[in-house]
């Protein structure tokens, strides 16, 4: 469980209260500058709140060392560039630097899950942006450890699909959903609301640093969301088999 109480950070995050449960997939949406990445950094413990408190499994983040935190949650950043020649397999192993669980089998499993096993001996800095992002996901999965032990841990994704093609956007979210079913709590910053709607259980809506809405996908994702967050005229399409889809009207430039 992650508990957030009266969280305040500079003038970016304003008095947020929030309870997140393990085994659920939360999509964090909101316009640019709404504070999504900042909130994720506060949940990850890499940013210190100006006021309020974040606790993970009843322990305040401020009481935990970075090494202890590394064993409880893994964070995937938007992009990671490397100026040095490291093979893919070594980048993935770095995920386990503090969990002491970097068996070759685990590393191979993580790489296979993201479809990068064939590239394990290639140099990371020679991969495309999308491939690098998949390797980073493998590193983060490696940090979570073997799937059997991942229950109760947290996976925080910061626009993890920003450089990925359609296939891998869905694959990454499918992996996140799968982990959530295994008992991992997932929080993902996401811009594509329709993609979030397909995989997430709940949506957290952030605007101007405030949590303005929280609820199940079917209750939150609709055309009013596009209108209130992005000022875009939109319609909600009915997709009987899957989830709601927001269709934004074409914008004309005068």
């Amino acid at each position: 469980m992650i508990n957030v109480e009266h969280l305040q950070w500079l003038d970016v995050i304003h008095r947020i209260n929030l309870t997140l449960k393990p085994g659920r997939f939360y999509a964090l949406v909101g316009p640019n500058g709404s504070g999504k990445s900042s909130l994720l950094g506060l949940l990850a413990g890499t940013r210190k709140p100006c006021a309020g408190k974040v606790s993970i499994n009843q322990q305040a983040l401020s009481q935990l060392s970075l090494a202890q935190l590394a064993c409880m949650r893994a964070v995937m950043p938007q992009s990671v560039a490397l100026n040095f020649p490291l093979p893919v397999v070594e980048v993935v192993k770095l995920g386990a630097i503090h969990t002491a669980c970097d068996s070759n089998e685990l590393v191979d499993n993580c790489l296979e899950l993201v479809g990068m096993l064939a590239a394990k001996d290639k140099l990371y800095n020679r991969l495309s942006g999308g491939q690098q992002q998949r390797v980073q996901l493998a590193r983060v999965l490696c940090q979570l450890g073997p799937l059997a032990q991942a229950k109760g841990k947290w996976l925080l994704l910061d626009e993890a699909t920003s450089s990925l093609d359609l296939q891998y956007q869905h694959q990454v979210f499918a992996i996140a959903k799968y982990l959530a079913r295994l008992g991992v709590g997932v929080v993902s910053v996401v811009h594509d609301v329709n993609l979030a709607a397909k995989y997430a259980d709940e949506v957290l809506v952030l605007k101007n640093g405030e949590l303005v809405q929280q609820g199940l996908v079917e209750n939150v994702v609709n055309h009013q969301l596009a209108d209130s967050l992005y000022n875009l005229p939109a319609a909600t399409l009915k997709d009987p088999q899957y989830t709601p889809v927001i269709s934004v009207a074409r914008q004309e430039v005068a």
């Binding site: 890499t46 090494a67 590394a70 990671v80 100026n83 040095f84 020649p85 490291l86 770095l94 503090h98």
Partner: protein, 329 residues
């Protein structure tokens, strides 16, 4: 492959040190060298040349070269920039400035010079890091290095005016770098310093790997970047401070050697640090031997030779980086 490289570096280092102790104004054959090495107490002839002049010099040269190369490797990893180097970012100049101040203001007491040089190296590294900020862009770091080197040059220039003949000679020696006139005393100070600094860096080798991905991801993986940086700064300042105190400014070793080594063993610090140490040591031992045979009986200061080798390599690296858009693509 990395394991066999590490294995061969030990005998190659020993061979380089033996080779370097054969050459000089009085050349020795291998046979003479072996018989001299068995006469340790003998204060005359070949035994004195080997035991009192050549051996302390090659051992110190090896430790200094290794230390400078490892410093370069660690600083490059810490700031995620393959072009960082203690000389280039002004740390060496800072150490030299404090060493020079110590000579002129407090006399030529070797421990005093070594301590001041260490202090100068620590202060300069923190100054450069403060100026460059969290992301440590190379332009800012090198500009900071230029400023500190210029300031150190100006102060050393001013000290030249107030220095007497002996101090002037010592100051000139510092600015060009030389391994002449060293004894086992310097080795006895340098050896524990090198072991301590290597130990500090070995402890953070894995964390330095994590820092290659950036400070944010490193923190998320459980690494405290600040703690790692402090250890790297202290270790580097130990290496550079004592090296500058005993041998003056020997440039480009910290830039060129780790760079070359990275092409062969990759960027993981558990390989890069030890291999850089041995290769840097071998490089300086051989360079020092060359300085003794270029124009006998005179010696070319070793700093001049390493700059003649290092500067073109640096230019080549920059041209390569320009062509490929990245130093390692």
């Amino acid at each position: 492959m990395v394991r066999s490289i590490k294995f061969w570096l030990v005998p190659i280092s020993a061979a380089a040190m033996v080779l370097a102790s054969l050459v000089g104004p009085v050349p020795l054959s291998l046979e003479h060298w072996f018989s001299a090495i068995q006469l340790r107490g003998d204060a005359t002839g070949a035994a004195a040349v080997v035991w009192q002049l050549r051996l302390p010099r090659v051992v110190l040269g090896f430790l200094i070269g290794g230390g400078l190369a490892v410093s370069g490797a660690a600083i490059q990893g810490m700031v995620r920039n393959p072009l960082a180097d203690p000389g280039l970012i002004g740390v060496t100049a800072g150490a030299m400035l404090f060493a020079a101040l110590s000579i002129v203001l407090a006399g030529s007491w070797p421990m005093g010079i070594a301590l001041s040089a260490f202090l100068g190296a620590v202060i300069t590294t923190y100054l450069v890091m403060a100026l460059a900020g969290r992301e440590a862009p190379v332009v800012t770091m090198i500009l900071a290095g230029v400023i500190i080197s210029a300031l150190a040059g100006a102060v050393v220039g001013a000290l030249n005016y107030i220095a007497d003949d002996n101090e002037l000679r010592a100051l000139t020696f510092w600015t060009m770098g030389s391994l002449a006139n060293v004894s086992w005393f310097e080795v006895a100070i340098m050896l524990p310093v090198v072991l301590l600094a290597l130990g500090l860096l070995w402890r953070v080798a894995k964390s330095l790997d994590a820092l290659l991905l950036g400070e944010g991801p490193a923190m998320e993986m459980g690494v405290n970047p600040r703690a790692v940086k402090h250890q790297v700064v202290i270790a580097t300042a130990l290496f550079v401070g004592v090296a500058v105190a005993f041998a003056g400014i020997i440039g480009f070793v910290g830039l060129v050697i780790p760079h070359m080594v990275r092409f062969v063993v990759g960027a993981l610090h558990r390989h890069l640090l030890p291999v850089s140490f041995f290769v840097g040591g071998i490089f300086i031992v051989l360079c020092d031997a060359v300085t003794r045979v270029i124009a006998p009986p005179a010696e070319v200061p070793i700093g001049i030779l390493t700059s003649f080798i290092g500067a073109p390599v640096f230019i080549y690296l920059l041209m390569r980086a320009k062509r490929h858009g990245n130093l390692f693509n």
